[in-house]
Symmetry: C2
Subunit: 686 residues, 2 copies
């Protein structure tokens, strides 16, 4: 790999990528041909000369990671995966953007062999790549030993103008520079075109200078269309820099080879038939044939597979030898790679009884983390500059920092994300995608929404990420409505495959962690209070682990109150007051809708049973609670700034007022007459 001379086979391979991408988009009659055509040379040089990966085992742990941050260019990635020998057939390419194909409109991790992370929403892949690079640096620092350079892969990311305009990428780039991630190489497709046309209309900043400001090495290639040697040299130089991530600005022509090259006409629509024919003639292909791959190209790329298979075999031997010399580290690393939790970790989860002191659930979370982290090196935490409020840094933990800063080491497990919620979420997705790491990240619940783009992709991709989301209601008090979530909970609950937990006390907090840790294909958001919460009579880890349960039972009840988190104890208080008035009130705690919905129907109907009205109570928007209750009490609109008890009083979320509300509900349903049927009894179950 010390120098580069382009061969005829290289030319043919690049032309094949270009024409095949055009055919893939053309057959679908939908998609983006321009960027694949422009980035074909970079993709070819990178994969043929540098990337170490085994297409026959796309999960080999020490593989180089490749991220296509400009995911709309995925025709390029699918074509490459096919040519390189991954499990993607020519028929799959022909089914591009068709229902239930392996080649959807944007790359989806877990769906298509060889796709590391789901991309398309701009900026996410770039930030994921920072996470992938952090993971490598961290695991290398923890497990590599003299003579055992076990974990030493690179992370390569392709990015377009769109990604670099997104704030999430800016945040990630700034942090990546701070962290001196020498294993991260971004290739920027500087084609001067975005959907609105020339980037001159909106994106005239000096990108090179910006990345220099972040502390990156910045290189450039003036002719990314045909100067393969320059591309090769830039990547080779990037790999030499061990203390900085590298951005290679690659000047390309979008849609290179098309009659419309260099215009946004080739960005997001198939090429016209005559253009495709002319393009193929120009590149030496039969103009009237589609999906042509010369054997020469398959042959060339078969070298990639051979190299990768050999490297994996070599690595497996190294790992075996490592196991002999370092049996404990080997056992731990292989356990982590397999995605298994250590035996008995859950026995460390704290258990509470009602006489234990009231504590904020953010504090209860800290107690859990303190208890489990010693047996779970997999956990890699961090906060978006709210460490002291989120209580996420346990005693004795070391910062993940470049050693030269003197502030920590790469073996450290606590990431200082800075005030960068969106990048934090996307980086955590990257950490999870790398494997062997379970990331937890933290901010106020209200600011999880700054990271919505990343949280959504976490759920879609099934990343095992845990959000510690504190200050989760008006209970944060004085900071006021700008910081008090109202709509956040329902937004997260409505996101498929996302477990939103709002524990009410110590046992429920332990349960939330128990289920979150075990759900390795589901991100979890733990919604935690700033204020103290009493430990409840009737809560257990086991019961709460079902997502919802009867905290306080009554036979022939007049009312059930269903609640979560900090309001459950208020419901208990209301129930006591109602009891004094002869109104029998059950209490259901429902800390996690997703988990509760996964229980069998009999159980669910036993918790939220027919026979008496069910009233929901939560110091948030009532939106969505109609699914589990007949009546809803919550915030009518925004919160307010003030000492938290006064804010609760202002909105009537007190034992006294909820008792009055409950009484009104009971009377209303008595007056209404007829059977009161559980809201879970439905004709339609999706």
């Amino acid at each position: 790999m010390s120098s580069f001379t382009a061969t005829h086979a290289d030319e043919v391979a690049v032309a094949t990528i270009r024409t095949l991408s055009v055919d893939v988009v053309g057959k679908a009659n939908s998609g983006h041909p321009g960027a694949p055509m422009g980035m074909a040379p970079a993709a070819h040089v990178l994969f043929s000369r540098f990337v170490n990966a085994n297409p026959k085992n796309s999960k080999w742990f020490n593989r180089d990671r490749f991220v296509l941050s400009n995911g709309h260019a995925c025709a390029l990635q699918y074509v490459l995966l096919h040519l390189l020998g991954y499990k993607l057939s020519m028929d799959d390419l022909k089914a591009f953007r068709q229902l239930d194909s392996k080649t959807p409109g944007h790359p989806e991790a877990g769906h298509t062999d060889g796709i590391e992370v789901t991309t398309g929403p701009l900026g996410q892949g770039f930030a994921n790549a920072v996470g992938l690079a952090i993971a490598q640096a961290h695991l290398a620092a923890v497990y590599n030993k003299d003579g055992f350079d076990l974990i030493n892969n690179y992370t390569y990311v392709f990015t377009g103008d769109g990604c670099l305009m997104e704030g999430v990428a800016s945040e990630a780039a700034s942090l990546g520079g701070h962290l001196q991630l020498g294993n991260l190489i971004a290739i920027y497709d500087d084609n001067h075109i975005s959907i609105d046309g020339d980037t001159a209309v909106a994106f005239t900043e000096n990108v090179e200078q910006r990345f220099l400001a972040y502390g990156w090495q910045v290189l450039h290639v003036d002719n990314g269309d045909t100067d393969y040697a320059a591309i090769y040299n830039a990547i080779a130089e990037a790999r030499k820099e061990k203390n900085k991530p590298t951005l290679i600005r690659l000047r390309t022509t979008i849609g290179y080879g098309s009659k419309q090259q260099g215009t946004h006409g080739v960005h997001g629509a198939p090429l016209k038939a005559d253009d495709i024919e002319a393009l193929k003639s120009k590149f030496g292909f039969a103009p009237d044939q589609k999906f042509q791959v010369p054997q020469e190209t398959y042959d060339l790329y078969s070298e990639f597979g051979k190299r990768g298979a050999a490297l994996e075999a070599e690595w497996n031997s190294l790992l075996e030898a490592y196991g002999k010399k370092y049996p404990n580290e080997h056992a731990e690393l292989t356990r982590r790679i397999a995605g298994k939790l250590p035996q008995g970790w859950e026995e460390k989860l704290p258990v509470y009884k009602p006489s234990d002191a009231a504590q904020a659930s953010r504090k209860l979370s800290e107690i859990v983390l303190t208890a489990i982290i010693p047996s779970l090196p997999d956990l890699m935490g961090g906060s978006a500059d709210l460490t002291g409020s989120n209580l996420t840094k346990v005693k004795g933990s070391v910062d993940f920092q470049p050693p030269s800063t003197g502030l920590g080491t790469y073996a450290g497990t606590y990431i200082r994300y800075g005030v960068r919620e969106h990048a934090m979420g996307a980086i955590a997705n990257g950490l999870s995608a790398y494997g062997a790491i379970i990331p937890f990240v933290a901010t106020f619940l209200n600011f999880v929404s700054y990271a919505s783009g990343a949280v959504r992709l976490s759920a879609l991709s099934g990343h095992h990420v845990i959000w510690v989301a504190t200050h989760d209601s008006i209970g944060l008090g004085e900071d006021g409505p700008t910081h008090q979530p109202v709509e956040t909970a329902i937004a997260l609950r409505a996101t498929p495959n996302l477990a939103f937990w709002r524990p009410a006390d110590g046992n429920e907090t332990s349960a939330a962690y128990l289920v979150a840790m075990k759900s390795n294909k589901t991100p979890s958001v733990l919604s935690l209070s700033r204020q103290n919460l009493p430990n409840l009579e009737g809560s257990t880890i086991e019961k709460a682990s079902r997502g919802g349960y009867v905290l306080h039972e009554e036979t022939n009840e007049d009312l059930t109150i269903v609640s979560t988190g900090s309001e459950v104890s208020i419901a208990v208080e209301a129930a006591a007051k109602l009891k004094a008035e002869g109104i029998k009130t059950r209490i259901v705690s429902l800390p996690c809708w997703l988990t509760f919905d996964q229980q069998d129907e009999d159980y669910r109907l036993s918790v939220l049973r027919s026979g008496a009205p069910i009233l929901s109570l939560e110091a948030l928007s009532t939106a969505g609670w109609q699914k589990y209750s007949h009546e809803q009490f919550g915030l009518p609109a925004w919160g307010a700034s003030g000492p938290y008890q006064k804010v609760y009083e202002k909105f009537g979320i007190t034992g006294t007022n909820i008792a009055a509300v409950g009484k009104k509900v009971v009377e209303f349903y008595k007056a209404k007459g007829g059977e009161v049927v559980s809201p879970l009894v439905k004709a339609i179950h999706l």
Copy 2:
């Protein structure tokens, strides 16, 4: 204002700001004293020497705008507003962070006199300021004439490290540099401290270099603690640069004067009693007295009010003279400043009949914009690099661009936001806050969530912003689940004071614009289809303007289907099939929940009436629909990539399947027996 010499009064004023801020936070026993103490000199120099505003009329249109982007430092802003003579009394200061006070934990526009925009969520204020600066540049270009420099204010923004780490601020800074906003001056409180401690832990980029890369002028002041002249000179120099925004990096000591100065100990917690006493002694105040303001300081700041009142009077005369020379422009400008819409604009709204061609609602939106923009110069549009997909740029409209680019002018009304959704949302909030402008912004519905932080503050602050959110479901087809919203609609519907519209056809699209334009204290999100929708029998602008209405009536119905947007016509198709089977089905269209909820109870109960089951239908998450229906049909989880009709089929959202679902619902409720009561009949109404 040509040079600066610090007087004794200046020293006293700065000391007063510092000690008063400390007392304000101390009495509340909650808040952030450090930044107010550090930024006191900059605040003093800026307001005493540069800011033109009238505290007796905080809405004077040509006032300089001031934004405290690091809103947690609001003790500083409240102290200033009090000293400068705004409607904020000493008692208000003493009620800092107390319930229902004028001095909440973070500044709220519309709540406290003199607050331009709501800040606290980091980065938002910085981006708002870019919007405020765009507004000035635009209105100046449109209305200023030779001899009538009517609109020439500056926008000043204070920002801390936190804001500059946020992606939303990065996006806004890049666009602000591109737009060459010479009227924008940001003062960066470079105090090396954030909540996690020294910024060295996470924020080591070269901020000056980054802003140079964005095209800003960058200045710095090495001693922001005591070198008032340097602060003065920097601001004066910033004002001279007409073609670039300016960042002044001001090196300060957080909590200057405290025993803990320069540490994060003074960031977010009150000072200790002995520290406060020592501080006051040091600054020449009585150590044991609180809330001290020397008369000398009130006197000094009374000059601010006098200057402002005189400037406003002068400006009013200028405006009057302008009216004589340019009566049409004067009439239009004063109408716009008053926030009134022009007479008869709504008559331009297109009206459709069922025989009109089916069109995508994004196209119907374009038709509305094309129809109304000629009579509504107030509208200033833009898209996050999806112009051709959002269809937001109407024929003949000119780009808002620096004239030197040759791509447009500052009089242009179309902003090329680039791929910067979050900044776009926050900039739009700034445009709205400036006044005389009604911004509309655009992206795919799924990517509105990238801007959640800004959208939430838009609703909290009551900004008149319209989001054109196209490609609003699986109906976008091939782009797949990464782009298909599922949870977005309920997140927006659960946000208080946010009108989420999902129109079903041409008349409903016109209705959405009608209500959105008239709701000048409510942001609206218009959720629009990529695919064609037929014009419906029974829809009218008037009916749809109520947020929900009976599209198709039946007496003694067996079923009501309630639906929105692209699924209403599918419901109509299902109803026809059910009719053929003898099942009478009403159709309710419910394009806007917020608007429907504002109708009187009788009306609402007539639309969603008792007597037969109500089934909701939407190609999104069903979360929240339980409020309006007994049964829900929608997406069980994520969407899928493929031609859109096939995706609809995959999820059973077709006339045939919905007819089957409806039949099942009818049979279920027949079997269940008993009265079917409207879901709107409730004991509790919040």
